[in-house]
Amino acid sequence: MKLMWFHLMPYTELPDDFNKKHPSVWVDIHSSLFDPKRAHHMYNDFMDELEFAAECGFDAVCVNEHHSNGYGLMPSPNLIASSLARRTTDTALCVMGNSLALYNPPTRVAEEFAMIDCISGGRLIAGFPVGSPMDTCYAYGQNPSLLRERYYEAHDLVKRAWTEKDTFAFSGRFNQQRYVNIWPRPIQNDPHPPIWIPGGGSIETWRWCAEMDYVYCYLSYYGYKAGLSTMQGFWREMEKLGKDRNPYRAGFLQFVGVAESREQALELYTEPAEYFYGRCLHVDARFATPPGYTTEATQRAGIQGMVAQAANAASAGGDKKKYRAREMKEIVDDGYVIIGSPDEVIEQVRHVATSLNVGHLMLLLQYGNMSKDLTKYNTRLFAEKVMPHVKDLFSEWEDRWWPRPMAQGQRAAVPAFQPRLAAE
């Protein structure tokens, strides 16, 4: 199986009374809480952590896109990915991803992804999320009723921009371009970089991923127990559509905290986990469900987005306890965060992978206000003590959705960063 190291880049210094004094971590979070000089250190720590994860041997490093968000400091994940392209060598770069409808024209995504693919020698995984309501409809003012139509059209345009050999005209409902001809072009051109779709639990998305032969990723913050029914629904749908159970069709996000013992793990990871589930998911319910964002078919199926669930549950007050655990005991009991000694984590990771049948496990080993030291400890321990004992899973399946980079010997040698030498 593939073990992928995911960073959300949370602002790590939201005040203790954040939830009491501020209505939302997202959309209208107050600028006075943001200290750019502290953010300088946060970004550099986070990028160190991603590079460290690559050195430790994770199969991929993952970044994602959020806007006006106190737990996601990457409005442009492409900026981080381009830096990682220079500071890593063999690790896949998973940009999870670019919200297509937010780019005007969407060929910008085709271009920037092609740049990352060229710089990295063909290591890009191209994620195309619709994007959350808070990011797309509120922070970026996109029309919720048009968002999905724009998304699908932008997808078609980007894919054609990557694959068509000649300059072409694109006449869509929302995008009209007389001359589509992107330079650069992606290295992965047979036919294009792997496309992964992070989504909620909608049947339409599952069907679309199956039809297009894309990886479906369920990026829940609520762990494998809450994610089980969604992933079972996904696999039932794949079976109905006559698709095999290749676990590499799917990706899943899981928080993990590994230490020498369970007691030590609790001691180390309680604060960052409670910071994340308390402060980082403090989203005002008024930004959770813009009309039209959720399709009528999904409404009929009674499916809500995960942030909407959490936000609505929080404002409704106690009756949906399942989605609002904020204290470590519940966070662990409900499976949001897997903690324990290496052996205990091995057992749980194997259980997650096999019960959900997920070949791409995206791991959050930094969360909330976790320090760089603790993040590196968690990362190293996972890489050394857990990874070797779970890598064997699903070896009978082929991962057809993984990047195919240039051969190592053909790739540019990236010189080590040596500022002192440069100054001499």
Binding site: C137, G141, Q142, N143, P144, E149, R286, P291, G292
Partner: protein
């Protein structure tokens, strides 16, 4: 209160409901945010002296087809078709809230279509210094108090009737909000202010004195920019949907203007 006659017309291949009741000169009504999930006393009151014709805009209760409309021109053409098929060409037209934005544009863009115009706290304008409330970024339990001075009046409008499909009813209510969003997201600003000078028919501008969505100051902008004679009147004890809070007073103001 008796039920109106219900007709269905086709706009872009989708059905749109037309309600019709009363006798006398025709009077059209384009409803506001949420549309009309049920017939209301205000319309009965108007139907005492007029033939009241109430077309449902695409996506609002009784109508679909909003998903075909990608931009303001698409919307204007659809509403124009709808009014003509509802037999409202040349009639007096009342528009409230979302319907008000379209009623104003019908008068501005299609000369001769509207005889006299009544605008009740219409969408279509936006002033950064005096912003309208965002109706789409609200907790569910907040909406009633924003739409009406007396929240119960909104709740009664959208309450599920006995025997209605409990899955489809809330979807229909969400669809109405989506249709409004599709036409007006994110600010409600259709750049109507640029076209107000094209309105050449007498116009009455009505505002609930407790409107918590549309700032009262927008009435002045409308009155100033509309070329024809216009006058502003405030309805006491009324919120954004003045006709829900004060059906009698609102109907009287309209009748007096059209008399």
């Amino acid at each position: 209160m008796s039920e109106p006659q219900t007709l269905t017309v086709d706009v872009n291949g989708f059905p749109c409901r037309i309600w019709r009741k009363g006798s006398g000169p025709k009077l059209g009504f384009l409803a506001g945010f949420g549309g009309l999930p049920r017939w209301v006393p205000f319309l009965d009151r108007l139907a005492e002296k007029r033939t009241v014709i109430v077309p449902s805009l695409p996506g609002f209760p009784g109508a679909t087809g909003h998903t075909m409309l990608d931009n303001h021109l698409d919307w204007l053409v659809a509403v124009h078709q709808l009014l003509r098929q509802a037999d409202l060409a040349g009639a007096d037209l009342v528009g409230s809230s979302v319907g008000g934005a379209f009623a104003a544009d019908m008068a501005a863009v299609f000369p001769g279509l509207v005889k006299r115009l009544v605008l009740m706290a219409p969408f279509g304008l936006f002033d950064e210094r005096d912003p309208a409330t965002d109706p789409w970024a609200q907790r569910g339990d907040n909406v009633a108090g924003l739409m009406c001075a007396e929240p119960e009046n909104w709740k009664k409008l959208v309450e599920m009737p006995a025997g209605a499909n409990s899955i489809e009813w809330p979807i229909e209510m969400t669809r109405a909000s989506e249709a409004a969003a599709r036409a007006l997201w994110p600010l409600g600003n259709t750049q109507l202010v640029k076209r107000l000078k094209l309105i050449e028919v007498p116009t009455l501008i009505l505002w609930g004195d407790q409107d918590r969505i549309m700032p009262q100051g927008y009435a002045k902008i409308l009155s100033r920019e509309i070329r024809a004679e216009s006058r502003v009147q405030t309805i006491a004890g009324a919120g954004h949907l003045a006709w829900l809070d004060q059906p009698q007073k609102t109907a009287e103001a309209i009748e007096a203007f059209l008399a």
